[in-house]
């Protein structure tokens, strides 16, 4: 399958990519890892007149710790995050990176591309929305920083102007006593999840000081399940409070029936995933090493 013909531009720097986008107008799109965009082009769901390739720019792929936060260059591949000891410091990040699609896709796909695409079935937005995440953007008028919760507006829609791009993703390191988990439930590795959930907890002894719970693939954007979080916050995490959080998450999910399952099935799945993720997050908050949290049908 061939995409429609397009003009190819190889940007030498992020500034140059912004300038090219500005010259070419809305018919130009950025090519990052391409693992979502190229399939869309081949199916001709997307038909941009111009593609601006970011893959030849140096220094856009990095992972570093600065001022209490981890910083990821926009072109950092999922596999680089999967294998990063630094990223393991925030377990949600490692879970997410290690579970996206398969080895081949993780070798190409990028964290910045995933956020900028804002696919409702994407993994990164759902995982990162439970953390204090800031998206660094660059446009013709310079740089700006946007909190992730304000960055994605709707399915496939972000605050980025057509001549603006993501340069970096900044994730604040959670306080001591924190633990998290991200679980995607998939029918097979290369497919999009049926549903996914991210849980981030901060414990003070037996009491849950803070909780963030997000649901993916069951709405037009990742959903923060505020009532599920409230069911945990300030309480000890017993079977009763965890069950209450799972029920609140079920109610917060807004799934569409499709070939992956009915709406009721997906709500049931969300409740089960939230329960499981809370248990893993809690064990990690207590300092346990818990591996491999993705599930396959």
């Amino acid at each position: 399958m061939y995409p429609r013909s397009f003009h190819y531009h190889r940007a030498g720097s992020l500034q140059e990519a912004v300038a090219i986008l500005g010259q070419l107008g809305a018919g130009a799109k950025l090519l990052a890892g391409g693992q979502s965009l190229i399939p869309l082009l081949k199916l001709r769901f997307a038909n941009p007149a111009h593609l601006v390739d970011l893959n030849f720019i140096t220094d856009t792929s990095f992972i570093k710790e600065e001022r209490g936060a981890l910083h990821f260059g926009a072109m950092t591949r999922h596999a680089e995050i999967e294998h990063s000891d630094l990223a393991r410091r925030i377990p949600v990040l490692h879970d997410c990176a290690a579970g996206i699609a398969d080895v081949q896709v993780r070798n190409r796909g990028t964290i910045g591309g995933s956020l900028a695409e804002a696919d409702p079935s994407g993994d990164w937005a759902n995982a990162l929305i439970t953390l204090d995440t800031i998206v660094h953007c660059l446009g013709p008028n310079g740089a700006r920083k946007v909190a992730l919760k304000d960055f994605i507006l709707d399915a496939y829609t972000t605050v980025l102007a057509h001549d603006e791009l993501v340069t970096e993703v900044e994730v604040k390191i959670p306080p001591k006593g924190s633990g998290g988990a991200y679980i995607a439930f998939k029918r097979a590795a290369p497919v999009y999840p049926t549903a996914s959930t991210a849980v981030q907890l901060t414990m003070e002894g037996e009491i849950c000081k803070d909780a963030a719970i997000a649901l993916g693939c069951v709405g037009l954007t990742a959903i923060r399940a505020g009532e599920a979080e409230a069911a945990l916050r300030g309480n000890s995490l017993t079977d009763t409070t965890i069950a209450a959080a799972a029920e609140a998450a079920r109610a917060a999910a807004d799934p569409h029936p499709d070939m992956r399952g009915s709406a009721d099935y997906k709500r049931e799945l969300v409740a089960a995933l939230v329960k499981r993720a809370i248990h893993i997050a809690l064990r990690r908050a207590r300092g346990e090493q818990v591996e491999g949290t993705h599930l396959y049908a």
């Binding site: 399958m1 061939y2 995409p3 429609r4 013909s5 397009f6 003009h7 190819y8 190889r10 090519l31 391409g34 693992q35 190229i38 399939p39 082009l41 081949k42 199916l43 593609l51 390739d53 893959n55 030849f56 596999a79 699609a101 398969d102 080895v103 081949q104 896709v105 070798n107 190409r108 097979a188 590795a189 290369p190 497919v191």
Partner: protein
């Protein structure tokens, strides 16, 4: 569609299996088509053509990628390994030999891609457990074997490469 005279052609220089290739191609040409149609390397297969099955897997700078999900122009300046590059001096690579010895293939359509995913795995982890093999080849679909003999082939290859 632009007139044929206005179609943009872009120079691509790559090293495939150690040999240099220089071609002028349309930007929309996929890497798999580039390998098969302009380099005559037809060992890399087109399976689903939708980033699912992994039959088109090649190594790009030693990392497994789906060559149906990359444009050839993106590989400019890179080193690529296809299944044709595994054999050396008429001798099968230990991975190829193990897939035969352990009956890790039947129709063979998925095999080139599986062997290259195996190549990346064994480079990082010469003695993988079955769980690790499952994760490493999760992007390669085989509709014949049921995978059990593939797991055996990967482990056999690992042992043989270690002994070599």
């Amino acid at each position: 569609m632009p007139e044929s005279s206005t179609v943009q052609k872009i120079a691509v220089r790559v090293k495939v299996n150690g040999k240099s290739y220089s071609r002028e191609v349309e930007a929309r040409m996929l890497l798999v088509e580039f390998l098969r149609e302009t380099c005559d390397l037809t060992g890399t297969h087109v399976g689903c053509d939708t980033t699912y099955c992994g039959a088109c897997t090649v190594l790009l700078n030693n990392l497994a990628v789906k060559s149906c999900t990359m444009f050839a122009v993106q590989a400019d300046g890179s080193e690529i390994t296809t299944v044709e590059g595994l054999e050396k001096d008429g001798q099968l690579h230990p991975i190829q030999k193990a897939f035969g010895d352990a009956y890790g293939l039947q129709c063979g359509y998925c095999t080139p891609g599986l062997m290259l995913s195996t190549f990346q795995l064994l480079a990082e982890n010469p003695e993988p457990a079955e769980k690790e093999i499952r994760k490493a080849i999760a992007g390669n679909t085989c509709r014949c074997t049921g995978y059990m003999n593939i797991f055996k082939a990967v482990q056999l290859a690992g042992r043989n490469m270690k002994g070599a």
